[in-house]
C-alpha cells in the first residue's frame, strides 16, 4: 500500500489510513525535528503539531504528488512557527553549543546531540539545514527536496550547494572558500 493511496483514503475520512500514515512517518518527522531543534521534548510536541496541521490540511493534498515531501513541508512550517515563538533574538538554545568547545563531549552526549557535522549543520540558516536534512538525512532526491521546501529544483540545488559550502567553511576545513569563488 503506497503512502499516496493511504493519503487518499485519509482524505476520504479513513481513520485507519491516518493511523497507518502516522505509524510510517512519525519517526522520520520526529528525527527531522529533533535534529533541527536539538530538544527531544520540543521534537515530540512539534511532531504532534505537524500531524495535527496535516489533519487539517489533508483535503488540500493532491494524491498525484508524493506524500513524504508534502508532510515534511508541513513539518517545516511547524518548525518555522516554533522558531518565531522560541527564538526571537536568533539565539541558539544550549543544546546547540559547539561540541568542540563544550565540556559535554562524552560519547553518550554526542550520540544524544548527533554527529558533530550535523550539529554544525543545525547552526546554518534554517532553510539550509532543512535542505541538507531532507537530502542526506531523509534521502530525498532533488525533486523531493524542492517540493518539501516549496521551491524549484534548480533553487534546491543552489541551496544545497551553498549549505555545503557554508558548512565546510564553518567546519574549518578551509576548503569552503577558494580563490575566485563568487557563488
Amino acid at each position: 500500500m503506497t503512502d499516496e493511496t493511504l493519503a487518499r483514503w485519509w482524505q476520504e475520512g479513513s481513520d485507519a489510513a491516518f493511523a497507518e500514515l502516522v505509524g510510517r512517518f512519525y519517526g522520520r518527522i520526529f528525527n527531522f525535528l529533533w535534529h533541527a531543534t536539538g530538544h527531544r521534548e520540543d521534537a515530540e510536541d512539534l511532531t504532534q503539531e505537524t500531524f495535527l496541521a496535516a489533519h487539517r490540511s489533508i483535503p488540500r493534498y493532491q494524491p498525484a504528488r508524493t506524500f513524504g515531501p508534502w508532510l515534511f513541508g508541513i513539518a517545516r512550517h511547524t518548525l518555522a512557527d516554533h522558531w518565531r515563538r522560541q527564538r526571537p533574538c536568533d539565539e541558539l538554545p544550549p543544546d546547540f553549543a559547539d561540541p568542540i568547545s563544550t565540556s559535554e563531549n562524552a560519547p553518550a552526549a554526542r550520540e544524544e546531540r548527533g554527529s558533530a557535522l550535523w550539529q554544525q549543520a543545525r547552526r546554518l540558516k534554517p532553510r539550509q539545514f532543512e535542505a541538507l536534512w531532507l537530502r542526506y538525512g531523509e534521502g530525498f532526491d532533488i525533486a523531493g527536496v524542492a517540493r518539501a521546501l516549496g521551491i524549484t529544483r534548480i533553487h534546491a540545488k543552489v541551496l544545497l550547494f551553498r549549505a555545503r559550502k557554508e558548512l565546510a567553511r564553518r567546519a574549518g576545513s578551509g576548503k569552503g572558500r577558494t580563490k575566485g569563488d563568487r557563488l
Partner: protein, 182 residues
Amino acid sequence: MMACWISRLWLIRHADEYGATPPARLARHLAGCASCRAQREMHRNLATRLAATASHREPPPFLAARIVAAARAAAPYRRPAVSVHRLRWTGAVMIALTAGLSLWLAIRPAKTPRPVAAPLELAALVRETISRPMQLADQQRLTMVTRSLAQPLEQEWQRIQADANGAWHTLAADFTPSPAAP
C-alpha cells in the same frame, strides 16, 4: 577554457550526481583547474559524510498513539468540501444516467394490460352490488353480466311448464267420468 564562474554553475547543476561522469566541457575544465577540482571534491566528500552520519534515533513509542488520539480529540474528521475534480465526475455520471434512462423509456416494450384486471373488476362490481342498495345503473350492468346465463334457464322453465300442462291434461282425461252414460 571555460571560466571558473561558469564551472561553478556546472558544479551546482551536477553536484548531486556524483555517480555520473561530468559533462565533457566541465571535465576538461576540472582537468586543468585545481581550485574547481578541490571545490568538487569538497562537495562530494561532504555529501558522503552527511549521508553517513545522519543518525536516526527511535522516537518514543507512545508518540504515535498520542498523535492519533490528539487528532481524534482535536477535530473529528469532516469530509472535505467536494473538489472540482469530484464534481466533474459526478456531473459525468449524472449525464450518463439521464441519457440511459431516456433511451430506455424510448425503446422499452409497450405496456400490456395485466390478465388479472378483468376478474378483479368483476369481483369489485359484485362486492359493490351486494354491499349497498342497488341502483338502476347497477341493475342494468348486472343484467348485462348475467344475460347469457338467464336466457337458457328461461327456455328450460318454459319446457318444464309445457310438459306439466300436458301431463295434467292426460290425467284429467283419464279420471273424468263420461257425461254421456245412460
